[in-house]
Point group: C2
């Protein structure tokens, strides 16, 4: 089942995909169905039949006509995995041997068809097409072999990135460390540190959706084709098979230090151009200069498209 | 007024400070008062009198006996300002000329007196004593001169940091940039990037509280003494006058790219040892090795203390 969140007749409702181009609106008073994705996640899979039954009487609208919200409108956190593609390996001189993550704020999310809003001070802004995982139940210290049991479903995220802001928000500095010989004294260590609050977390930098394909719809999350199109032209085409750390690896690792909660989102890392295919790198698609629409599609899930405004 | 959130007789309630060592429990059914800090923020300052009236009949408990939650139990985001102390300037070879930020997840927060839980893989973990701002109303593109109008109040945060995890989660890599001469081609640029999801965002890495001092209680947020004590011994003593970017600067800058919402928290950056005072650097206090308790106090707000568990 594919379930999104929409703003419909003045309220938040669930939208369940009916084919590729239509969605049925369910939820609200007297409907017998929740209108909140958190309730669906909490009652899944028991609630699936009730949702399916509700479709018979539900109004059906064209996907293009709906006001889409992020499918999880206010996730507790969005955990983003950095540089998680086997194609990155040759570019990394040194780095961790586990997933490295940062947090994108819920306030940066926008739904399908909502405009990305860019500003003069942002410099270049490029798309990063990614598979996103929506967590179904509380996860702490999860074993890799059980990790997929904690997945409610999968959606599409465009992890917009402003590399010039990244450069600005990088410090070259002398970090204070305790001295090796005397832990009460200090040493200075030449270090680099960068902070993603702005270059990854600005408003509208998190297009996500249109909906969540529940896990039972996706037999193998590592056999999905990820495409990014700019103004209808293919920019990148990749497969989730090329993610360095798989969904189960990431859930197991993150849950070893950070509790994952229902509705939390994990952005799995940028899909890159497959060797031999046509198209540019995502870094060539400067949305600030070139505008939109920018589109990310993942096979078996759906297509997320957003216009771009500059002001 | 000083208002916190507690778990009391099986439910979340508000706790209003009565002197330094006691708090009155308000809120709940038939009390005429909300038990949710978000409702207080939404109705502030109109609700202040109702809260004050409720104190007459409210049960009063010792601060030490209460189960403290983070005063805002689930903020939409926690914006943390990096390297924001005038004492850092001499250590920075290059960096931005504006506040640089990262996001700490709400799941990392714990209340006053709750245990910090450290694990073998974390390496060193040190305290970072900071003033925290709680946002009172939605803020976008706020002028510096109006910025303090958006503050609901102030609290204390200990922005725990694991510098060895920071080192692990730093990449030295060749970043892809568009070529200068041909924006459809790419260049590789030697770069450093670090990701704070783990070293700043692990569970229990965000002790906060015990309560929020409402803005009317704090005539000048840049005249507050910040002290950090480890096992009762003074580690650092600083004053919020030494913050490079002031509260109004940070609200104005952040709101220019990221909407601040009621209940959002801004951690203003680490207080450092004042020249000439006794004590070590916070980096010498390795809680993994030395254990707790670790305490941060800010004049006019209160004292946040946490034990440390290692497993």
């Amino acid at each position: 089942m594919k379930i999104g969140s929409v703003w419909y007749q003045g309220a938040t409702r669930l939208a369940v995909a009916v084919g590729e181009h239509h969605a049925a609106i369910v939820g609200g008073p007297h409907s017998g169905c929740p209108s909140d994705i958190y309730e669906v996640i909490a009652q899944w899979p028991g609630i699936a039949q009730r949702l399916a039954d509700a479709l018979t009487d539900a109004p059906v609208e064209p996907v293009a006509a709906l006001h889409w919200l992020p499918p999880v409108p206010r996730p507790g956190k969005i955990v983003c995995v950095a540089l998680n593609n086997s194609a990155n390996k040759e570019r990394i001189m040194s780095g961790p041997d586990h997933p490295a993550t940062f947090i994108k704020p819920a306030s940066s999310l926008i739904g399908h068809n909502q405009p990305v809003r860019l500003r003069p001070g942002y410099g270049r802004v490029h798309p990063e097409p990614e598979l996103a995982v929506v967590i179904g139940r509380r996860a702490t210290d999860v074993d890799r072999k059980d990790a997929l049991d904690y997945v409610f479903g999968y959606t599409v995220i465009n992890d917009l990135t402003a590399p010039e802001m990244r450069g600005e928000d990088t410090f070259h500095y002398r970090a204070i460390h305790p001295a090796k010989d005397d832990p009460t004294a200090i040493n200075y260590v030449d270090s680099w540190v960068s902070y993603p609050g702005r270059y990854k977390g600005a408003d509208t930098f998190g297009p996500i959706g249109p909906w969540i394909a529940t896990a039972d719809d996706i037999p193998d999350p590592h056999d999905l084709v990820v495409r990014c199109l700019h103004k209808g032209q293919l920019v990148t085409e990749d497969n989730t098979a090329n993610l360095t750390y798989k969904v189960a690896d990431v859930i197991a690792f993150v849950s070893s230090y950070q509790m994952l909660e229902p509705g939390d989102v994990i952005a799995m890392g940028t899909a890159l151009k497959k060797a031999g295919t046509a198209g540019q790198a995502v870094q060539n698609v400067d949305l600030t200069k070139l505008g939109g629409p920018i589109e990310v599609s993942i096979s078996g899930i759906g297509t997320l498209s957003n216009t771009v405004e500059y002001r």
